[in-house]
Each structure stands twice: as structure tokens, then as C-alpha cells.
């Protein structure tokens, strides 16, 4: 019984935190780094996504596109936008952001959505192959392993296997 109550309490707390985070984004209140770390991870991120509505698209796009904002904040907004990835305005935004951004953190966040677009242009496809190739793996490999929730040992491991067995 205690366990169930505890789980219930945690859920209420997480819903509250998610609601507060979305309110802060809408009002332009800054969210601190440690809090962003938590928001970017599951299960808290799922609650944030549930709190996001179509009306938030513009503000999320603005924050994600602004190069002066912290990368974790921009990534958080891009992750929230993924649920609207098939909306034409978001498709255009992701493609534009891919072309404009130089940061791998941003490219990786939009990459997943881009790959789901059947009508993706050849130059973006070429750009994906060019950026995520062996020559640049020190830039993207740690990010992809982190995104898959692997640890630092896993990063070394993947690199070693790719070198030895996959000719990458």
C-alpha cells in the first residue's frame, strides 16, 4: 500500500513539475541547468510532452532557433516539438534548422524527424550522410550514446567495435 501511495505521490509531483516547466517556457522565465537535465529525461519528459499543446509551437520554435540560448534548453524544446513533426510548419522549421545549425546536438535532435519525411530533399540526405560519417564520429558518437542512455564505457566500446568490425 505504501508503495502505491509513493508512486501516486511521485506522479503528482512530476505532473506539477512538468506543468510548471511549460508555464515558465510560455512566460519566458528561465529554467536552471540542473532542472533542464531532469526535464530532458524520462519519465519527467513524458509529462512535459503531455502538457504541451499546439499553441506552444511558436514559442518552442523561437527558443529552439535562438542560438544564444543554452543547448539543453533548445534540445528540450525540439524534443517537445517532435510530437508535431508531421505538421507542415514544423517540417519546414526542422529542415531549415538542420541547414542553419552547426551544432551536432541540434542536428541530432531534428535528425529523427527528418528521417521520417518521405519527401526529404536530396541535399538534406547528402548533408546527413556527410555529417554523421566516420570522419566526424568523435562529434556525434558520444551524443548518440548519451541519447540512447548509455554510459561513458559504452562510448569507448562502440567506437572500438566500429573500428574493428565495421570498417568505419
Amino acid at each position: 500500500m505504501d508503495d502505491i501511495e509513493n508512486i501516486g505521490r511521485q506522479e503528482v509531483l512530476q505532473r506539477y513539475v512538468a506543468k510548471k516547466a511549460l508555464q515558465d517556457l510560455r512566460s519566458g522565465t528561465s529554467i536552471e541547468g540542473p532542472m533542464l537535465q531532469l526535464l530532458n529525461h524520462y519519465p519527467l519528459f513524458n509529462y512535459c510532452r503531455q502538457e504541451t499543446t499546439e499553441n506552444d509551437k511558436t514559442i518552442l520554435k523561437d527558443i529552439a532557433a535562438a542560438g544564444q540560448n543554452e543547448l539543453p534548453l533548445r534540445r528540450f524544446c525540439l524534443k517537445l516539438l517532435r510530437q508535431f513533426e508531421q505538421h507542415q510548419d514544423i517540417k519546414d522549421f526542422f529542415q531549415e534548422l538542420w541547414k542553419k545549425s552547426s551544432e551536432y546536438e541540434i542536428k541530432l535532435e531534428v535528425l529523427w524527424s527528418l528521417l521520417s519525411y518521405g519527401d526529404l530533399s536530396e541535399d538534406i540526405y547528402a548533408g546527413i550522410s556527410e555529417h554523421f560519417d566516420a570522419a566526424n564520429w568523435d562529434k556525434w558518437l558520444p551524443l548518440i550514446v548519451e541519447k540512447l542512455e548509455g554510459d561513458s564505457e559504452e562510448k569507448t566500446h562502440v567506437k572500438e567495435l566500429m573500428k574493428r568490425y565495421f570498417n568505419l
Binding site: 529523427w112 528521417l115 550522410s129 558518437l141 548518440i144 550514446v145 559504452e154 565495421f166 568505419l168
Partner: protein, 285 residues
């Protein structure tokens, strides 16, 4: 049984790439937060390129393990799921832009059907389905490599097999001087695939399987793939033209009656359809 390497067999060292459609499906699964680990295991199990490479890695000295692995789930467990996902990401992105080749695609369709069929026959024969599923998927890896490295000659093989109504391996012998079993055996050795798998790849068209010195278990697994190949060929799934089994071989698998084989064909079609749809979507290509 295949013993020596034919003199005119060309040296092939490259890996087989994934089909763009399969690579794309793998990436979708990694990217989709709602997809399960099971989904990724399933799609990897349907990809000749990734399955063979995972087995190669899992059985490599890098892992210093004593037992040989021939099942994809075991390979993923040994390598680690995050590592496998990261590898899938890197490899699939590379293969995503490869043009879709019709022959590659039809060879994959056939291998997938034989894979599914091998799993079903194996279960009926009291074996676990994991290994035979992989054996079925990779049984024609020799054909895939020939098509990759000798496109013009392989087109001649396809034409001769259709025009003269002879199995592929006979047409290959006439055109190339060796068959896909020879090429498969060589490739399996180059890639250091498990010995039993290499045996099945090399010998699934041989007619002396029952007389060979190997264990009954390996004979049974080889015949399971041979039977799966013959049944799928009779239903013309993918690019194939294989021979039949002898009465003795069907008997060894307890599949002597036409009624039993017909029921099996119906199950193969149903299950193959579901696997194919998982990768391609319900609309097909």
C-alpha cells in the same frame, strides 16, 4: 558435401550492405520512443547484413567468450543493447542512400521467407526456432555476394535458371563454374561465422546430407533450411528456383504427406506476410 574451395572463386572481402528500406525501418525504430526493444530485435533478425555482422562481433575474441552464439537475441545480449543501437544507427545511415536494387530486394524477400519457414519447421521438428531462423536468413548469402560483386554474370544465371527451368545452383555451376554454396562457404569463413551456420550455408543444396559424418542435430538443421527453401521456392516467394528434397529427407523431417506440407505452406505465407509488413508497412514496397 562442400570440401574444397573452387579455383575460380573470386576473392570477396566486403560486407553485405543493408537494404535501404530495412535500414530506414531500423532508424525509425531507434528514433521512436514508443517502440520496444523487441521491435529492434525483430528488425535486426530480418536483416542479412546486420545479423551476420552481429554474429561476427559476438563470436569475436573481443568478447573472450567460450561458447559460440548463433542466435540474434543472444548476440544482442552479449554485445549490449545500447551498443547495438549505436552501431545500427551508424551503419543504417550509411546504407540509407543506397539505390534500391530489384534483385537484392527479391533475394531478401526469399531469404526472409526461408527464415520464417525454417523457424516454423524447426519448432515442428522439436528444435528451438532461433538458430534455424538465422540459418534461413543467411542461407543464400552466397547469392547476395555474387550479385553484389558479379552483377552481369548473376543476371545470366537468373536468365538461364528461368529459361531452362533448372535450379539456381545448377545455372551457377554452368555460368560461373561454382555455386552460391561455394561462395557462401567462403564468405562464412572470411566473416568467421559459427561453424554450424557455415555448414548450412555451404550444404543446403547437397543431396548427401543424411550420409555425412556430422551430428544428427546439424543434419536436421540443414534439412530444415533445405525444406524451407524448397517450400518457399514452390510458392515462388522472392527470387529463387531451388530443387526438392528426396523422400528420405522429407521422412527425416516427418513431412512425408502432401497434406502436411500444404498446411505448412499456409502458415509460412501468413507469418512471412506479417514479418514483411513489419518492415515495409502494409502497402508493400
Amino acid at each position: 558435401m562442400k570440401k574444397t574451395k573452387p579455383e575460380n572463386l573470386p576473392n570477396v572481402f566486403s560486407d553485405v550492405p543493408s537494404l535501404p528500406v530495412v535500414a530506414s525501418r531500423m532508424l525509425q525504430i531507434i528514433a521512436d520512443e514508443n517502440s520496444s526493444l523487441q521491435d529492434l530485435k525483430r528488425v535486426i533478425s530480418m536483416d542479412q547484413s546486420f545479423s551476420s555482422r552481429l554474429l561476427k562481433v559476438a563470436n569475436s575474441p573481443y568478447y573472450r567468450a567460450s561458447n559460440t552464439i548463433a542466435d540474434i537475441t543472444d548476440a544482442i545480449t552479449r554485445i549490449g543493447f545500447t551498443t547495438v543501437q549505436a552501431l545500427v544507427f551508424a551503419i543504417s545511415l550509411k546504407d540509407l542512400r543506397r539505390p534500391l536494387n530489384k534483385v537484392d530486394f527479391e533475394l531478401w524477400e526469399h531469404s526472409l521467407a526461408v527464415s520464417v519457414a525454417s523457424g516454423l519447421i524447426a519448432r515442428d521438428a522439436g528444435l528451438s526456432a532461433g538458430e534455424p531462423f538465422v540459418y534461413g536468413l543467411l542461407h543464400d548469402i552466397g547469392k547476395v555476394v555474387i550479385n553484389l560483386s558479379m552483377k552481369k554474370e548473376f543476371a545470366e544465371v537468373i536468365q538461364m535458371s528461368a529459361q531452362q527451368d533448372i535450379p539456381f545452383y545448377q545455372a551457377e555451376q554452368k555460368v560461373l563454374g561454382f555455386d552460391h554454396g561455394d561462395m557462401g562457404k567462403y564468405v562464412a569463413e572470411q566473416w568467421r561465422l559459427p561453424a554450424n551456420l557455415a555448414f548450412v550455408i555451404a550444404n543446403h543444396h547437397e543431396d548427401d546430407i543424411l550420409e555425412c559424418q556430422e551430428s544428427n542435430d546439424l543434419k536436421k538443421k540443414t534439412l530444415v533450411v533445405k525444406a524451407a527453401d524448397a517450400l518457399c521456392s514452390s510458392m515462388e516467394i522472392g527470387l529463387t528456383h531451388s530443387g526438392d528434397l528426396s523422400d528420405q529427407e522429407w521422412q527425416f523431417l516427418k513431412l512425408t504427406t502432401a497434406k502436411k506440407r500444404e498446411a505448412l505452406r499456409a502458415r509460412i505465407v501468413e507469418e512471412y506476410k506479417s514479418y514483411r509488413e513489419f518492415v515495409m508497412g502494409a502497402s508493400g514496397r
